[in-house]
Subunit: 293 residues, 2 copies
């Protein structure tokens, strides 16, 4: 059930990303580079989370489509910049050449900048039937969660932590910010659009924080146990970079136990909602923890 749900939502998101990005024409290398970087077979987990919250409240999905696409553009730009020679220096992502390998380094920097910049126009200019007050709140949140106190902050500390043993506190800062904030963001935006009560908002926030953590622990585990064909990047790259991870701090078996506990807590966080309404959220938590890529 979850699989077909994810697939249909992924197709919806992909078609909307194409719709917005196909409007862009010139300079063609930027327009093509933006499409290349975003339309890459990604899981669309972040946009799907936003749509799932809207569905929980019976809202029209179109209210959240521009925000969902914007978040995916920001996620993509962060990968384009992370892959650059000065950062992770990766040649492949999901089995395809990274953006700078395909288009050149200067071009990739500008393509990333363009994705980030354009995401705000999509929210501000393309959203219909959401009040300006709500959109302003959403835009402020996107900016904060993606910026120095969010994703970029996490990315910076992650870079600084390479080749050294870091504390659990630092590792948690990295996870909370580098990956966590961009997973919380769509859930909170969905809750804002849907006028969630304070109690529901906090429940959704907690759920998103915990699946974000689960996502990251699972990523660390996949880096050790994963299959190159499935994860689309070399196994063991964390080890090579001497990165501190959950397995390096706690060992592999203990990390798997922590993962299970985190997933249980994520599910528990949603007890405020009727059980039959949150089936998809429950299945998604398991999917994140037990995925193979």
């Amino acid at each position: 059930m979850l699989k077909s749900h994810l697939k249909s939502k992924r197709e919806l998101i992909d078609s909307k990303i194409e719709f917005y990005l196909n409007k862009l024409e010139y300079p063609s290398i930027i327009a093509e580079g933006m499409r290349y970087s975003v339309l890459n077979g990604g899981k669309r987990l972040r946009p799907i989370l936003l749509l799932m919250v809207l569905e929980l409240y019976g809202k029209d999905l179109k209210l959240g489509i521009p925000s969902a696409v914007a978040i995916e553009l920001i996620h993509s730009y962060s990968l384009v910049h992370d892959d650059l020679p000065a950062l992770d220096n990766d040649d492949y992502r999901r089995g395809k050449l990274t953006t700078h390998k395909k288009f050149g380094e200067a071009e990739a920097i500008l393509i990333g900048d363009a994705l980030l910049t354009h995401s705000f126009s999509i929210v501000a200019d393309e959203t219909e039937e959401v009040s300006a007050e709500k959109l302003l709140k959403i835009i402020g949140m996107i900016s904060r969660y993606a910026g120095i106190n969010g994703m970029i902050g996490g990315q910076m500390v992650d870079i600084q932590s390479e080749k050294k043993k870091v504390s659990l506190e630092t590792l948690e800062y990295i996870h909370t910010n580098k990956t966590g904030k961009l997973l919380k963001l769509p859930v909170e935006i969905g809750a804002i659009i849907s006028d969630a009560t304070k109690e529901e908002y906090e429940a959704l926030e907690k759920y998103s924080e915990l699946i974000g953590l689960a996502f990251q622990i699972k990523d660390d585990i996949l880096d050790i146990e994963g299959d190159f064909e499935k994860i689309g990047k070399p196994v063991g790259s964390d080890l090579e970079l001497e990165k501190t991870t959950y397995p390096s701090l706690f060992g592999l078996e203990k990390s798997k136990e922590i993962l299970k506990e985190v997933v249980q807590n994520a599910k528990k966080a949603l007890e405020v909602f009727e059980k039959e309404k949150i089936t998809m959220f429950i299945e998604l938590a398991d999917y994140i923890a037990f995925r193979e890529n």
Copy 2:
């Protein structure tokens, strides 16, 4: 009169930039890098233009301060990324080490990203007493003017045009977008906040387009005739990069004539306003055309 006006406005803007950026603490290399990149003795022409429009309408400057600061952050991020080794590979800007020379290349990419991202939070979260509808319009405009159909587009075509002779049409595309859009932006935002009439809006828009063009022609001229001490970068870098410029297309003398004409037209565009109200705009047009740095 203009000089003291520019100075007091520059000081106001600098204090507001400091106010907003001093709120940022961690990761300290990003926070410090953002301050280093923005608080660099810049002319603050873009924010000042926004404040001048508010003054023209007798509006409280605080209505536009967050937008003015945001535009300067975007201007600064674009310089940080332009200076990178993969792009212009500049070691100095305004006589100081460029951001990547000071903080490292990966760091400079993220510092630029953080400046761009944070600018939207400043507008969305920090503006008081401007309606959400207007702010949404402003945010959409910032995103469009700074993105693929604006500054980034111009920057990309500029890079593609190095080491080749380009047409006047391409040169105009570069100028209109790379520098022009970010000079139009504050003027239009000022007009939106001030509820300018359609006629006034178009007059201000035309003025900003023409001083943007004048700014660029003057830049091209300074690259030939300027003084290193004053412009803070090596003279003749356009020649070295075999860039097409106004002087390379029209010769130096003809370029100066074009510059004069453009400035005249900029002043004429504002005839819709009472003469005594636009003294500063008239003086600014001359300043842009006849500045030494």
